[in-house]
């Protein structure tokens, strides 16, 4: 575990940001509270961060802060759903999802006029996984049903989507954290997708749309 942590000092050295910036971002909830890990070291108490997560996050903030205000950025990173709802035409015109995926979704859930953020998230994840070839069409069906029925309970938390297979039978589930989960040997992890990262991607895509 220790190798995956980065000290605050090292983080500032690598990224070139200042203490003030780091604290400001923390105040604006751009960096989640639970990434600040306090540990004692030979120089007294020090703060550490999960290395990969924080470096990726700082990189994103630096790249995007010219285009978006800090509050808008905070919105992108928050696991809460956006408030926007879009019509099917907009979804396709703005390249958020392809019409193929949308058709599949409509086939399962029925025609809708407006798609809420949660709906769009579901379609977006569906498309992402179908495109990457990790998900079969039948599993896509499971995904949509599971998301529509249970996602609400996870909303606002950093949930994960997990797909496992054993002997050709697939099981799909949503969980708050898949960190502590152990299966027997025959089980293969097929997908482990943190919902928060998809939410981020989707919000960015939708933000681009608003700017255009």
């Amino acid at each position: 575990m220790d190798d995956d942590l980065i000290s605050k000092k090292e983080l500032l050295e690598i990224t070139g940001i200042s203490y003030g910036q780091l604290y400001r971002w923390k105040r604006k909830s751009l960096i989640p509270e639970d990434w600040f890990i306090r540990k004692s070291s030979y120089t007294g108490q020090e703060t550490f961060f999960p290395r990969h997560k924080i470096l990726a996050r700082v990189d994103k903030i630096i790249n995007m802060k010219d285009d978006l205000s800090l509050d808008e950025l905070a919105d992108v990173f928050s696991p809460n759903a956006g408030e926007t709802s879009l019509r099917s035409i907009e979804l396709i015109e703005c390249n958020i999802v392809s019409s193929l995926t949308l058709d599949l979704y409509v086939e399962i859930q029925g025609q809708q006029d407006d798609f809420t953020f949660d709906n769009i998230l579901c379609i977006y994840i569906l498309e992402k996984l179908l495109k990457s070839g990790e998900l079969s069409r039948d599993e896509g069906l499971m995904l949509v049903r599971t998301m529509e029925e249970h996602y609400g309970k996870l909303a606002g938390k950093n949930g994960e989507l997990v797909l496992i297979r054993k002997m050709g039978v697939s099981v799909l589930f949503l969980t708050e954290s898949a960190d502590q989960m152990y299966f027997d040997k025959g089980v293969k992890w097929v997908i482990r997708l943190p919902l928060a990262s998809s939410i981020e991607e989707l919000k960015l895509k939708m933000n681009e749309r608003e700017e255009e």
């Binding site: 203490y19 604290y23 007294g44």
Partner: protein, 242 residues
Amino acid sequence: MEQKQQSRHDLNISGMGRTGGGVYKDVKIDGMGKVGGDIDCLTFTSNGTVGIEGSLHADSLNINGTAKVEGPTTLDKMDIGGMSTFKDQVQCRAVFINGRAIFDKGLKSDTVEVGGILKTKEDVQCESFSVKGHFTIEGLLNAGQVDIKMNLPCSAQEIGGEYIVVRKWKSPRIWEQLHHGFSTRLKAHIIEGDHIDLEYTEADTVRGNDVSIGPGCTIRLVEYKNTIHQDPEAKVGSCVRI
């Protein structure tokens, strides 16, 4: 949101009274009042003793006596002239404390102005934090601008921000000269910021871009990036440029 649409009524308690809570326009308590549940109002004014057993949601809170809130508190403006205790998280936009306020959990606000005493058991987060008096923060003080003028010993576990200025407010008192332990100083474990200007501060580690260590400071380790200024009367264990 629905409730905002409904017509709100005023609530007045003069003397002794108890209410179960609810949605009101202006709440005024003169004397002793008890709120048995959650209360949502536009203004909440108390000139006596008040206890709220649930949560408090108001645009403005004005306390001139003693008050105790058990539940989470969301406010726009808070003005404490007496003694207040908040048992749960407090979220506010502007906090003015001229009396004594104790937060058993954290405090989040845009601005915090203290002219009296502030005590928190957890973190304080705000854009601007200015104190003329005394504070004890048992967690992290995270603020854009920290402006501290102390007239009693102050302490914070950690301080982080952009501008951090610490000064002594009044000339030494007579009993301070008699006993060193009473002396007005700030105690902190770690102070980190872009511009740090300290006086009469005891800290383990100070890290920043531009650091100025004034008289009366005792600091084990200073790490700076651009500039350093050290008063001859300050005690600094080691000073490193990074």
